[in-house]
């Protein structure tokens, strides 16, 4: 039963019994893992109430082969991110980034993905009040890219024609734009006006938006891209929150 110690981010927690918690962790060295923190709900637990979503720490655990649930023996807190609960857009963005990693990350060391997740959470934590939605969208797009699902936004995925400032169809299953000259299939997608496309490109590249760009349809584009391109057949729960009503 090897004992490992690795930087980890808590993605999700739930109560297991009267006294124990189960954690979904993104470990830097072993990818996403589940661990039980025995006694974590006791008032005087050695975990001291730090086992909360979005917190990062040095986790020590017993990794058991062929088992899905490992045992957490220590969690030395590096940074708690309790303040991500201060508004719904921050909380939703952080939850979605965590859920993507939980569902799609490989169970192996991935420093880049680990860093991207941390950067996403910190960007959300530090975003100015008026910028939260934009930062959330950019942060989640960054996670999507790092997971290897970069959308093709420069050229038509069907004929290769370079797309400049014209509108184009965002074909979600194909994973990118289809130009107006190519036949449109009946796969799920949406026509983007030039302004929407410009905004999407900026958000996806993590560049700031200027005030003239309208971002109203962007949560829906991100949601549908994830739904049809990444999460085929499965549904991501946090996605339901990426609509203008809950998100705005």
């Amino acid at each position: 039963m090897p004992i490992v110690s690795t930087r980890s981010v808590i993605l999700q927690t739930y109560r297991y019994s009267d006294t124990s918690k189960i954690l979904r962790l993104m470990t830097r060295d072993h990818g996403p893992r589940s661990a039980i923190a025995k006694g974590a709900l006791r008032p005087k637990s050695k975990f001291g109430g730090v086992l909360e979503p979005f917190a990062e720490g040095e986790a020590t655990m017993y990794l058991k082969d062929n088992r899905d649930l490992h045992t957490l023996s220590e969690f030395e807190l590096i940074r708690d991110r309790q303040r991500l609960g201060v508004d719904l857009p921050r909380f939703t963005g952080a939850s979605l980034a965590c859920e993507l990693v939980m569902r799609l990350a490989p169970e192996e060391r991935d420093d880049r993905l680990y860093r991207t997740l941390l950067n996403a959470l910190d960007a959300l934590l530090e975003a100015d009040q008026g910028q939260v939605e934009q930062v959330a969208l950019s942060a989640v797009w960054r996670v999507v890219r790092t997971l290897g699902f970069t959308p093709e936004l420069a050229a038509c995925v069907s004929c290769g024609r370079v797309l400049e400032e014209d509108g184009a169809r965002f074909d979600f299953s194909a994973g990118g734009l289809v130009c107006g000259h190519c036949p449109r299939g009946d796969s799920p997608g949406r026509w983007l006006e030039p302004g929407e496309l410009r905004t999407l490109r900026r958000l996806e590249a993590g560049r700031p938006l200027d005030a003239s760009l309208d971002s109203g349809t962007q949560p829906g584009l991100l949601r549908d891209f994830i739904r049809y391109h990444l999460a085929e057949g499965t549904s991501l729960r946090s996605l339901e929150f990426l609509d203008p009503r809950a998100f705005g």
Binding site: D18, R42, G49, E52, L88, F91, R237
Partner: protein
């Protein structure tokens, strides 16, 4: 399936009860007089038949409105919002609160698919239009509980800016559950509550 296996399986579905405990409980009951076992079965049946959510506050009770809502010695100008009906028992235990309650039935959690529409929020908004002067938010001191508190604060500000919104003081263990806190800690959290 045999009667014994059937009962073990039912016990096994309860939170925190594994196979071993399910077996132990089952064999314990088998050794008790049949009358005692029927009494237990009767109690289970009664909660299934008679207990429902209070139409006013969402508390679980066999009366509607529940005992707290009907008690005219309680102060109707203060409403304390909790995640679960079981939190009420913990607060009552502290003996320091005599206002009314409102049970949300959970907390916001995108990862669990729980959004504002899944909580008893519409009922709360309705109640706040009446004679409420202070709303104490007693959601758990967790990230989800915090997010729920901020969401409620914004919602209530839109309904009526005059309502004072307070949050229980820190001191409750972070990441812990109100349900597990002792009476003294809860009483302190109430008296030290601060405006949001």
């Amino acid at each position: 399936m045999s009667a014994i296996d059937d009962l073990m399986q039912e016990f096994g579905r309860l939170p925190g009860i594994g196979k071993k405990t399910a077996r132990r409980l089952t064999y314990y009951l088998l050794k008790q007089p049949p009358g005692d076992v029927r009494q237990l079965a009767g109690a289970v049946e009664r909660v299934a038949d008679e207990v429902e959510a209070c139409s006013n506050c969402g508390n679980l009770s066999d009366e509607d409105p529940c005992g707290y809502c009907r008690d005219d010695r309680r102060d109707p100008s203060v409403v304390c919002v909790v995640e679960e009906a079981s939190d009420i028992a913990a607060i009552e235990k502290s003996g320091h609160y005599d206002g009314l309650y409102h049970v949300l039935g959970g907390r916001l959690s995108p990862l669990d698919g729980v959004g504002p529409d899944d909580l008893n929020v519409a009922g709360l908004a309705e109640r706040l239009r009446d004679e409420v002067e202070e709303m104490i938010i007693a959601t758990n001191p967790s990230v989800e509980g915090e997010a729920t508190a901020t969401y409620l604060q914004k919602l209530v500000d839109q309904i009526d800016e005059e309502i004072q919104i307070t949050r229980l003081a820190r001191g409750l263990p972070v990441g812990g559950d109100l349900e597990y806190a002792d009476g003294v800690t809860i009483a302190e959290a109430f008296s030290g509550r601060r405006e949001m």
